[in-house]
Amino acid sequence: MSRFAVLPIEMSGGCQCGAVRYHATRFTDNAHLCHCRMCQKAVGNLFAALVGAPKDAVTWTRGTPARFRSSAHVDRGYCRDCGTPLFYDNLEGDRISFTIGSLDEPVRFKPRTHEGIEGRMPWFFELDAINEGHATEFESEDWAAAIKASSRQHPDHDTDVWPAAGEASR
């Protein structure tokens, strides 16, 4: 029995390359950031952003995620073709926690809490105050145009066929 209310949100998500796609018909109201070192390492990041979905509300609509058993209780799911971290799965639990960034509309899952305080970066609270750059190698017009024109990222909606025709030859 979940400690959290169920959100009547229905949404799909998946990895960057689109080999793995999933759909959940509802989510648990527990979007959070986990700063523990295991989450940091699993997602190569400063924290993991996660939101749960009841396992009986989830279907894998394309492909199958790879799993790494990070401890006896927990699998970390990811795409074996492109590496996107997809979920945290407490094997004994009744919900699976998806990485919010892998969902098609991450903006709808505003985190409610922080967890894993022991692993928090001492400068975490300063992140939103660091300089917002413009003139970087990421942001040159040619560079951005080249990426946009050739992005192989799956779009933020379900697709009937993927990769799109002609995409595979890239």
């Binding site: 990895c15 960057q16 390359c17 070192r37 295991m38 940091q40 390492k41 699993a42 997602v43 190569g44 990041n45 400063l46 952003a49 790879a66 790494f68 990070s70 401890s71 006896a72 209780h73 927990v74 970390r76 990811y78 492109c82 590496g83 996107t84 971290p85 997809l86 990485t99 919010i100 960034g101 892998s102 991450p106 903006v107 505003k110 985190p111 409610r112 305080i117 970066m121 001492p122 609270f125 300063e126 992140l127 660091i130 300089n131 917002e132 750059g133 970087t136 990421f138 942001e139 560079w143 080249a146 990426i147 024109a149 050739s150 992005s151 192989r152 990222q153 799956h154 933020d156 890239r170």
Partner: protein, 155 residues
């Protein structure tokens, strides 16, 4: 000399770097998706060598390859003609790379600037959570180089 090292969660891929450049967080949707996260945390790595295994790569566009461990999925690199950047959380000591700049503000998630104000769930608030945490026997590679991995008992 303290080494700059890191790797994936399972330890199949390990790296060393001679120096780190500027650290950034990138808000673009491609970094969000590649990391399954709110942003891509990346730091330029100079003199990078792979000391165990090597990442798999996904060419996310014609100009960028993203490296990851195909055994556990940890995102590891952003590689382009200008160099190679490392996922900050994959460093053994992520505190070596406090981000100095944010890029691609157009895709920044609306709630990003409110994250620091979220309440913390602290030990002692939930007996069930505390019991779960106490029962975890981590298979994560330690935050230092190892001679052999995984340990025999775990292999």
């Amino acid at each position: 000399m303290s080494a700059i090292a890191g790797g994936c969660q399972c330890g199949a891929v390990r790296f060393r770097a001679e120096a780190l450049g500027r650290a950034s967080i990138c808000h673009c949707r491609m970094c969000q998706k590649a990391f399954g996260a709110f942003f891509g945390p990346l730091v330029t790595a100079k003199g990078l060598t792979w000391t165990r295994g090597e990442p798999s790569r996904f060419a996310s566009s014609n100009v960028v390859r993203r490296g990851f461990c195909d055994r556990c999925g940890t995102p590891l690199t952003y590689e382009y003609e200008g160099g190679i950047e490392i996922a900050i959380g994959a460093l053994d000591d992520p505190e070596l790379a406090p981000p100095a700049i944010q890029v691609n503000p157009a895709d920044k998630l609306s709630f990003f600037e409110t994250l620091h104000a979220l309440p913390w769930r602290l030990p002692g608030e939930s007996a069930a959570v505390d019991a779960f945490v106490a029962s975890v026997e981590s298979r994560q590679h330690p935050d230092r180089d190892t001679e052999t991995w995984p340990p025999e008992a775990q292999a």
